[in-house]
Amino acid sequence: MDNKDAKNAEEEKISKEMAQVEIMIGQILRIGVIISAVIMLIGFIAYGIQGSTGLPSHGAVTITAIATGLLSFKSGSVMMLGLFCLILTPVLRVVVSIYAFYVEKDSLYVWITSAVLVILLFALFIGHS
């Protein structure tokens, strides 16, 4: 009987911990999305003031061009940074999911989700080169 109670208490502890972890993850994701939205908004307001993006109107975009633009606070570069942060939010989602499965002691899904992350990073890398 005591054994069973101890087991129930243990399960309850894990589910409470899971709930806390889920809320924390929700907050991390929310902050990530809000940060990218704020950067986009700042860039957009800056465009209204500057009147131009400071980026070439067509052709490939390089990291160097964006970085140079950021140093002189060119609105186009700030907007591109915001968009890049937005592109990274699903990656953040995958990363925090690995942690959630780890807390849940679900090793099968820690592996599956890690595999997704590896494929995703590979794809992000291919896209750049």
Binding site: A19, E22, I23, G26, Q27, L29, R30, G32, V33, I34, A37, M40, L41, G43, F44, Y47, T53, L55, H58, G59, A60, V61, T62, G76, M79, M80, G82, L83, F84, L86, I87, L88, T89, P90, V91, R93, V94, S97, A100, D106, L108, Y109, I112, T113, A115, V116, I119, L120, F122, A123, L124, I126, G127, H128
Partner: protein, 280 residues
């Protein structure tokens, strides 16, 4: 200035609709950008990719704890869509898109027909006498709290290999053609794997963001993404998707299905005809 306001408004509507239906919003955004505003298709596709991610992430942050989506199903199937998406991007120019348009067009039309059958049948069968062994092994069976019905719904997942195959094909199609990011996923989850509609649309929402991120850097660095188009659109969508995600939870599943049927028929027909070179 007018263009900016239109972008924000289009984004808001696309975000609400996308989050409710689990679609990427390309069906609303691409025609508005290309037909109504005369924007080059290249930039419209770039904006669409950003729109998909914004819809997905906006829907994600509506709730701190999402009790509807099925994270295990999402992550397991994401392996197939992301590999498919990479393969699609590599095969671009090698594989003829005609066959893909025909196959996926027909699949979507079948899916629409299947949804009408489900509407006619009334209540959905969510529990089977013999649970699917693969779904059990992968712990995919789950439950969700339905706000409209005010009850917790337990459900089982079936035909995992078929769902995975459709997801792989959907990945190839979205990498190769840049289309159907959400429609194919809802189809795989709802029609093939027999998940209830609400977990299907919200799981599709999560997945399409991850799949789109896999191909987004290509578009980001090749100049397809124009900040003046993508930024106001994304801001509108983020707000819209957050609202849509909340609306979806209180809408009865039946209504969502009724809205879904004509849209899926339209996308399916559009794709099928595109296989024969007809654009509608």
């Amino acid at each position: 200035m007018t263009q900016v306001i239109i972008m924000l408004a289009v984004g808001l509507i696309a975000g609400i609709a996308g989050a409710i239906l689990g679609l990427g919003g390309g069906i609303i955004i691409t025609p508005v950008l290309t037909l109504a505003m005369g924007i080059n298709i290249k930039y419209a596709i770039g904006a669409s990719i950003i729109a998909v991610i914004a819809t997905s992430s906006g829907a994600t942050i509506a709730y701190l704890r999402d009790n509807v989506l099925n994270l295990r199903v999402a992550m397991f199937l994401e392996i197939f869509t992301t590999i498919g998406a990479i393969l699609g991007a590599i095969l671009n120019g090698i594989l003829s898109p005609v066959v893909l348009y025909l196959i996926f067009g027909l699949l979507l039309i079948y899916s629409g027909y299947n949804m009408i059958r489900k509407l006619r049948a009334g209540s959905e069968i969510l529990q089977r006498v013999h649970p699917d062994p693969i779904a059990e092994k992968l712990e995919l069976n789950s439950s969700y709290y339905d706000k409209a019905a005010d009850k917790t719904v337990d459900y089982q997942v079936e035909h995992v290999p078929a769902g995975a195959a459709v997801m792989f094909g959907a990945g190839i199609a979205s990498g190769l053609l840049g289309i159907g990011s959400g429609a194919f996923k809802v189809m795989a989850l709802d029609t093939f794997m027999k998940m209830p509609l609400k977990p299907s649309t919200s799981t599709s929402n999560l997945m399409m963001g991850v799949t789109a991120a896999a191909s987004a850097t290509v578009y980001f660095f090749n100049g397809s993404i124009q900040p003046l188009i993508a930024v106001p659109l994304a801001l509108g969508i983020l707000v819209g998707a957050t609202m849509g995600s909340r609306i979806m939870q209180i809408l009865p599943s039946r209504w969502i299905r009724i809205i879904f049927v004509p849209i899926i028929f339209y996308i399916g027909l559009q794709m099928f005809l595109k296989g024969f070179g007809v654009n509608i």
